[in-house]
Symmetry: C2
Subunit: 273 residues, 2 copies
């Protein structure tokens, strides 16, 4: 395979996806890559590999919140290196929490050790750039994510550096959002297809309070489990940025920009009505 890639330098650069964090987020990213690709036939779609090894990658929040010393970056880096050795030249990871530098730097070091020329596309940087484009004059951005992502300030620092003001849900809502993501009885990780009504209601309520009480001009879904449950393009009158969808577009752009579908295409975001 790698040899075939080398013979097709003008061809798309193969996309590698670090899946399993969680599994449905990987599948959601694959779906969004297909959705945003200009394609009339099988052969028009981009080369893509999804490696989903959830059982071998320790929980990211447990490490970031100090409950374990086992850094998941090592195993994530092994998956990245494996994707690269299989020919991936553009890599994305649909898990915001795993973008904490304490995890990601270790993983990217493993990737670098392969000596292969691979572009890692950050979901955080991609999403913040998209938010910046939608709010060119700054503004207050409502942020939903795991407790670990918020405590690590993964988005807050990047938004502030881009001249934007992050607004978080209240502490109670942050805890509820975390449960909507990971509670074994009703969370999105346990019930993804379909999502439980309880998880979806929690997420919509938290979004409503961001819109109404914090008066944000945009809501950023900064956990890849959330858009599995919440597929609207607007909530309570406020535009929503789905970081997974932005990552999908940036991966296509890095692989083969001429295959990127324009956002105006009516087929591109069927769930956004």
């Amino acid at each position: 395979m790698i040899q075939r890639f080398a013979n097709h330098l003008s061809e798309p650069r193969p996309i590698g996806i670090v899946g399993g964090l969680g599994p449905y987020a990987g599948y959601d990213l694959v779906r969004k890559i297909f959705r945003w690709t200009k394609a009339d036939s099988d052969q028009d779609h981009l080369p893509l590999m999804l490696h989903s090894f959830p059982g071998w990658i320790p929980e990211r929040p447990a490490y970031l919140l100090g409950r374990t010393r086992e850094n998941p970056g090592e195993d994530i880096g092994s998956v990245m290196a494996q994707l690269a050795r299989n020919g991936a030249r553009v890599i994305g990871m649909p898990c915001n929490t795993a973008h904490s530098p304490r995890i990601l730097d270790v993983a990217l070091e493993r990737l670098r050790e392969t000596g292969l020329d691979v572009t890692f596309v950050s979901i955080i940087e991609s999403a913040v750039r998209q938010v910046r484009e939608l709010c060119p004059n700054g503004g207050r951005v409502g942020l939903m994510g795991t407790v670990a992502t918020l405590r690590e300030r993964l988005y807050q620092d990047a938004l502030e550096a881009a001249g934007l003001e992050p607004a978080l849900p209240d502490d109670d809502d942050c805890e509820l959002v975390q449960r909507a993501i990971s509670d074994p009885d009703f969370g999105v990780k346990a019930f993804s297809d379909p999502v439980s009504p309880r998880a979806r209601r929690i997420l919509l309520d938290a979004a409503r309070r961001l819109a109404e009480e914090k008066r944000v001009s945009l809501i950023l879904l900064g956990c890849t489990e959330i858009p599995v449950a919440v597929t609207e393009s607007h909530l309570w009158g406020v535009p929503v940025v789905d970081a997974t969808s932005v990552l999908a577009r940036e991966l296509i752009r890095a692989s083969c920009p001429e295959r990127l579908k324009e956002p105006s295409n009516p087929q591109s975001e069927k769930d956004s009505a």
Copy 2:
């Protein structure tokens, strides 16, 4: 990674999926594997790789119908071997047409050349076994698939060997079903998410005529693009067997039988109402 597999002999056998045939069928199979897996957390899901290289695998019908001499089995076999070298020990391919022995035998020979112990799970054999279980006393089975799959008699021979009577749509309907799958202006391969109303209507009409005019006791969706468009568990009063869903269950069973969810679970087939 392969070393880690070796250290976990009691762990699930990693699943490899030959994607890209078409891309949405690969994604539909991943979804159905997740859906049929007993899992309360990320870590409960099975290790899985999807390799989707649609641009490098020649069209299967073109080869089977004699329009090209390039056998796609060579490239399919390369993908299978690549999955095996990455640790896949159970492999599935969500494309019925590619299960023609003229293609599959070449591919499996490439897989065998790796010398690795890999189980290939046939979608045809899996689906026919499921149909047989649902029709223990025989019966007439309505069959929908590509023109190439029908001409190759992939399902007809297997159904007859199992004591079942295959019933095909009329020639006009067969052509229409083919267009619903592959027409660049409205077919499922070009418009998968969402599917075009025209493609769905054609498929439902063909199913209706199988149910009403051919009086079949079951309808078998023998092309992996069809269940992307038709997700019902019954059509016109007749039970539907979705070969992709059956393949998903057989792959889980071959990987780690204790993780296979029972069909009675209400979450398992949300689209089947």
